[in-house]
C-alpha cells in the first residue's frame, strides 16, 4: 500500500552513503542530499540560479546495477534505485586536486583556504600568478545578475585560461542596479573586492536607463 502511495506522490527511493532516502522526481542528487542533511561540498551552486556544473567539487560516485560513474551531484537527476557515495577514493582524488589548484588560483581567498583545509589540503605546489586573486570563475555572480536581477551587468570576458569576470567592454556600466546580489552569492570575497569596477561611482550615476 505504501508503495502505491509513494508512486502516486512521484517520489523515488535511492541510497546515499548507505542511507535510504526519498526524493521528488525532479530533484537532483545534491538537493536530495541537502534535504537529508548529508554534506556535499559545492562552490558554483546556489539555489537561486540554475546549476551549471562548473566547479566539479560536488562530484559523487553514482552506481546503478553494475555500472558506476563519477557525476556532479548538483546536476545529476535522482532515479529509482540509484546508489550514491559521496566520498570514495576517486571522488576524494578529484576534490583534493581541485582544492590544491584553487589554492594557487585564488590564493587570497580565506574561504577557499578554509575549505581546502577541511579536506586536508594545506598547501599548493602550483604556480601562483596573481597573489591577490579571490575569484574562481564559478559564474554565480554572472548567473544571478542575469537570471534573478535580469540586468546582465557582468559577464565572462575571454575564455579558457584567460577567462575572467568583467563588465562588458571592461567599463563600469549603468546596467548595474547596485542590488548587491552578486556579492551575496559569491562564494569568496572576490565580488566584494571588484564591486566598484562593475557599478562605477554610484553617486555620479545619472540613472538614465541601462547601458547597452
Amino acid at each position: 500500500m505504501s508503495d502505491n502511495k509513494e508512486k502516486t506522490d512521484g517520489l523515488v527511493s535511492l541510497v546515499i552513503d548507505g542511507q535510504p532516502v526519498q526524493a521528488k522526481e525532479d530533484w537532483t542528487v545534491l538537493e536530495t542530499a541537502r534535504h537529508n542533511h548529508i554534506h556535499i561540498p559545492t562552490l558554483c551552486y546556489h539555489e537561486a540560479v540554475q546549476a551549471n556544473g562548473g566547479c566539479r567539487l560536488c562530484v559523487v560516485e553514482a552506481k546503478e546495477g553494475n555500472w558506476s560513474k563519477i557525476v556532479v551531484s548538483c546536476l545529476y537527476p535522482v532515479k529509482e534505485g540509484l546508489q550514491i557515495s559521496t566520498s570514495t577514493a576517486k571522488v576524494n582524488n578529484v576534490r583534493r586536486w581541485i582544492l590544491e589548484m584553487l589554492l594557487a588560483e585564488c590564493p587570497a581567498s580565506k574561504e577557499i583556504r578554509t575549505l581546502a583545509e577541511a579536506y586536508g589540503v594545506n598547501s599548493t605546489r602550483f604556480k601562483i600568478d596573481r597573489p591577490t586573486e579571490q575569484c574562481l570563475l564559478c559564474g554565480l555572480c554572472v548567473r544571478v545578475c542575469e537570471e534573478v536581477v535580469g540586468v546582465r551587468a557582468i559577464s565572462f570576458g575571454s575564455r579558457g585560461v584567460n577567462k575572467q569576470v568583467a563588465t562588458p567592454y571592461m567599463v563600469p556600466n549603468n546596467a548595474c542596479v547596485a542590488c548587491g546580489s552578486c556579492v551575496t552569492v559569491c562564494p569568496t570575497g572576490a565580488m566584494q573586492a571588484r564591486l566598484n569596477m562593475v557599478r562605477g561611482n554610484v553617486s555620479e550615476r545619472t540613472g538614465h536607463g541601462h547601458a547597452h
Binding site: 566547479c55 563519477i70 586536486w97 602550483f126
Partner: protein, 620 residues
C-alpha cells in the same frame, strides 16, 4: 539539369548522362585535395587548361580536365590520373604538363620519369601501387574520381541512388534497421552505434511530437587531421545524401551542417552542392514525390576546438557561446532548441549511402564484429607516405604505418604513434600489431578519435610530445570547469619541471593521479580525454620520464635544459662556420684547429648543428 520527380527519373537521368558521355575523349584528373593544393596542384590544372587551349587539340585527344578531391597519396602530390590509359603521374609540376600533353595525350606514350617508383618497381597505374592496393575505400570512395563541382559526375557515379531507394522503397523504420544491422559506429570519436542513436531519436520524437533535427559535424579540429575536410571538399553530394537518408530515417525536416571555419573550400563546394541538389529536387519539398521535405543549412564553425563537442556545437548553432553543457539528458532527446537532435560526423554519414545500397549485412562483414566497416586516417609526422588512407577496421597498426605509410624515412621503425588526435594516446612500437578498432585502442589506453595518426621516431621526446599536446588542449579549454581549466595548466607545470630535469619519481605518480582526477572530474570529453597523452606516455615510456627526472638526460636530445652541445675534435676542421652562426658567440677556436663550445653561455639553439658541414657537433 532536369528535375527528378520520382525515383525512376533519377535512374533515367543517370542513364542519359552515361550515354551522353564522350568516351572517346581522354580524361585528365588533377588532384586538388589539401595536400596536392599546398604543393601547387592548382597551377598544374591551370597549365593543362592553357596547354589544351594553346595547342587547339583535336576533339579526340582534347581531354576533359577534372579537378578532384584528395586521392590520399599527398606525399607525392600534385597527382595526375589519366583515363582511359589509367596512367598515374606523381609530383607533377606545371613545367611537366607540356610533355604530358605531347607524349601521352597526343602520341599515346608514357612519360616514364613521372611514374611512381618504389623499391625498384615502377608503377603505371595507381591501383598497382602498394599504398593504394592495401586500402579499401567506402567513405572516401569518390575522392580523386569525381569533380566535386560537377553534379553529373556525382550522378554518374551513383549519387542519390541510395537515397532514392530509401525514400521510395523503404520505410523509415527499415532504414534505421539497416543501420543497426550494419553495426556502423560514429567516426567522430566516441564510436557510438549510429543505428542505435537514430533509434533513440525516433523514440524520443514519439514521446514528444514536433521538430526533429539532424546535424552533421564537420568541425574537425584535431591538428593534422583532414579526413572530413577531404570528404566535404571532394564528395559534397555524398555527405548531403547521407544526411538526407538520416533525415528520412529519423523524421527530420531540417538539417545543419556545421563546417569548420578554416575550411573555405569545403564550405564553397558544399554550398554549390546544396544548390545543385535543390535544383535537382533531392532537397526541398516533396522529394522524389514521396511527400518528404528536407533541407540543409550550413553553419560556419566558431573557430574553437571545443565547438566540435556536441553540446558546445548546439549552443553555437543556437547563437550562444560555444561552451559545453553538462548532459545527463542525451541530446537525441533534448538537443537543438530542446528538441530531439541527431549529431553525426561527416565520415559516418558518408558511409550511409553505401550501407543502404549494399545492405547492412554486407557492411557488418567488413572488419571485426564489434567495429565493422572501414576507417579513414590521416597519416602525418615521421612517416614516408604522409596522406589520407582508408582501411578495414581491425588491421594491425603496423599495416597502416609501415606497409601503407612506408615506415619512418631512414629509420628501422617508428618509436610511437599518437592515435586519436591531441587527446588520444601514444602507442609504442612494441604494440605495433594492435588491431586498429575502437575497443582494442581503448584497451591499451589510447582511442580511435576521429582518425588522426601522428608518427614519431627516436628524435621525438615523449615528455616534450605530451607537453605539446597538453599545451594545445590547455589553450583550447573553454574554461568552464575547474579540472580542465586549472588541471591542464597544472599538468603542463609538472611536465615543464620534468623537461628541466626537476622532480622525483613520486611526482610522476602524482601526475598520474592528477590525470585521473581530470578524467573523472571534467565536464566534457575535451578535459575528460586530455590527460591521455600524458598517461599513455608514462605507462609506456616510464624509463624515458625517469631518464629526465633521475639521470637528468633527454635521450631524444630534445629537452633544451638537459642537452649539451659539444664539438667532436676529430671531425672539426676549424672552418669557423659555426662561430659565425652562433647567436651567443660562445664558440671559440683558432682557424683550422678544432673549436670548442662554452657550455655556460650556450642556449642550445642548434644553429651550430645546422651550419656544420662536417657533422662535428654532438648533442647529448
Amino acid at each position: 539539369m532536369d528535375r527528378v520527380n520520382k525515383a525512376e527519373d533519377l535512374r533515367e537521368l543517370r542513364n542519359r548522362l552515361i550515354a551522353a558521355q564522350d568516351t572517346s575523349r581522354p580524361v585528365v584528373r588533377v588532384c586538388l585535395g589539401p595536400g596536392c593544393l599546398a604543393q601547387g596542384a592548382d597551377k598544374v590544372a591551370g597549365a593543362f587548361k592553357k596547354a589544351i587551349k594553346d595547342r587547339g587539340l583535336q576533339a579526340d585527344v582534347k581531354p576533359l580536365i577534372k579537378e578532384t578531391g584528395c586521392h590520399g597519396f599527398c606525399k607525392l602530390g600534385p597527382l595526375v590520373n589519366l583515363d582511359p590509359s589509367g596512367l598515374f603521374y606523381a609530383q607533377v609540376k606545371p613545367e611537366d604538363v607540356e610533355e604530358i600533353v605531347e607524349q601521352t595525350l597526343v602520341k599515346g606514350q608514357v612519360v616514364d620519369r613521372l611514374l611512381y617508383t618504389e623499391n625498384g618497381n615502377q608503377y603505371q597505374t595507381a591501383s598497382e601501387i602498394p599504398f593504394y592496393a592495401m586500402q579499401q575505400k567506402i567513405a572516401t570512395r569518390n575522392l580523386g574520381l569525381i569533380d566535386p563541382i560537377l553534379l553529373e559526375d556525382a550522378i554518374i557515379n551513383g549519387a542519390y541512388l541510395a537515397a532514392a531507394k530509401a525514400l521510395s522503397y523503404m520505410k523509415p523504420e527499415d532504414v534505421v534497421k539497416e543501420l543497426e544491422l550494419s553495426g556502423l559506429r560514429g567516426r567522430g570519436g566516441a564510436g557510438f552505434p549510429t543505428g542505435r542513436k537514430w533509434r533513440s531519436a525516433v523514440d524520443a520524437a514519439k514521446k514528444s511530437p514536433g521538430m526533429v533535427y539532424i546535424v552533421c559535424n564537420g568541425d574537425e579540429g584535431d591538428p593534422g587531421a583532414f579526413m572530413d575536410r577531404a570528404i566535404m571538399e571532394g564528395d559534397p553530394h555524398g555527405v548531403l545524401e547521407g544526411m538526407l537518408i538520416e533525415a528520412y530515417a529519423v523524421g527530420a525536416n531540417q538539417g545543419f551542417l556545421y563546417v569548420r571555419t578554416e575550411y573555405p573550400i569545403a564550405v564553397k563546394n558544399l554550398k554549390r552542392a546544396l544548390d545543385q541538389a535543390r535544383d535537382l529536387g533531392m532537397l526541398g519539398q516533396n522529394i522524389l514525390g514521396t511527400g518528404f521535405d528536407f533541407d540543409v543549412q550550413i553553419n560556419r564553425g566558431a573557430g574553437a576546438f571545443v565547438c566540435g563537442e556536441s553540446t558546445a556545437l548546439f549552443s553555437s548553432i543556437e547563437g550562444k557561446a560555444g561552451e559545453p553543457r553538462a548532459k545527463y539528458i542525451r541530446s537525441v532527446e533534448r538537443g537543438l532548441w530542446g528538441r530531439p537532435t541527431v549529431l553525426n560526423n561527416v565520415e559516418t554519414l558518408s558511409n550511409v549511402p553505401v550501407i543502404i545500397d549494399e545492405g547492412g549485412d554486407w557492411y557488418a562483414h567488413i572488419g571485426p564484429a564489434n567495429s565493422p566497416g572501414t576507417k579513414a586516417f590521416s597519416l602525418v609526422g615521421k612517416v614516408k607516405n604522409v596522406g589520407l588512407v582508408e582501411v578495414p577496421m581491425g588491421v594491425p597498426l603496423s599495416r597502416i604505418v609501415e606497409d601503407i605509410g612506408g615506415g619512418v624515412p631512414g629509420k628501422d621503425h617508428f618509436k610511437a604513434v599518437q592515435t586519436g588526435g591531441p587527446s588520444g594516446g601514444c602507442i609504442p612500437y612494441s604494440l605495433k600489431d594492435v588491431a586498429v578498432d575502437f575497443d582494442s585502442l581503448i584497451k591499451i589506453g589510447s582511442m580511435m578519435g576521429s582518425g588522426g595518426m601522428i608518427v614519431m621516431d627516436d628524435t621525438d621526446c615523449v615528455v616534450d610530445v605530451a607537453r605539446y599536446f597538453l599545451h594545445f588542449l590547455e589553450e583550447e579549454s573553454c574554461g568552464k570547469c575547474l579540472p580542465c581549466r586549472l588541471g591542464l595548466k597544472g599538468m603542463v607545470e609538472f611536465l615543464d619541471r620534468f623537461s628541466r630535469g626537476e622532480g622525483s619519481e613520486e611526482e610522476l605518480d602524482e601526475l598520474v593521479s592528477l590525470g585521473e582526477a581530470i578524467k573523472d572530474g571534467a565536464l566534457c570529453a575535451l578535459g575528460g580525454s586530455a590527460p591521455n597523452p600524458v598517461l599513455t606516455t608514462i605507462r609506456y615510456f616510464r624509463d624515458e620520464y625517469l631518464a629526465h627526472i633521475v639521470d637528468k638526460k633527454c635521450p631524444a636530445g630534445v629537452c633544451k635544459s638537459l642537452i649539451t652541445y659539444s664539438i667532436d675534435t676529430d671531425k672539426c676542421t676549424g672552418c669557423g662556420l659555426c662561430v659565425r652562426n652562433c647567436p651567443q658567440s660562445c664558440i671559440t677556436g683558432e682557424t683550422k684547429t678544432p673549436h670548442t663550445i662554452n657550455g655556460e653561455a650556450c642556449v642550445r639553439c642548434g644553429m651550430c648543428l645546422e651550419s656544420c658541414k662536417f657533422g662535428a657537433i654532438n648533442v647529448a
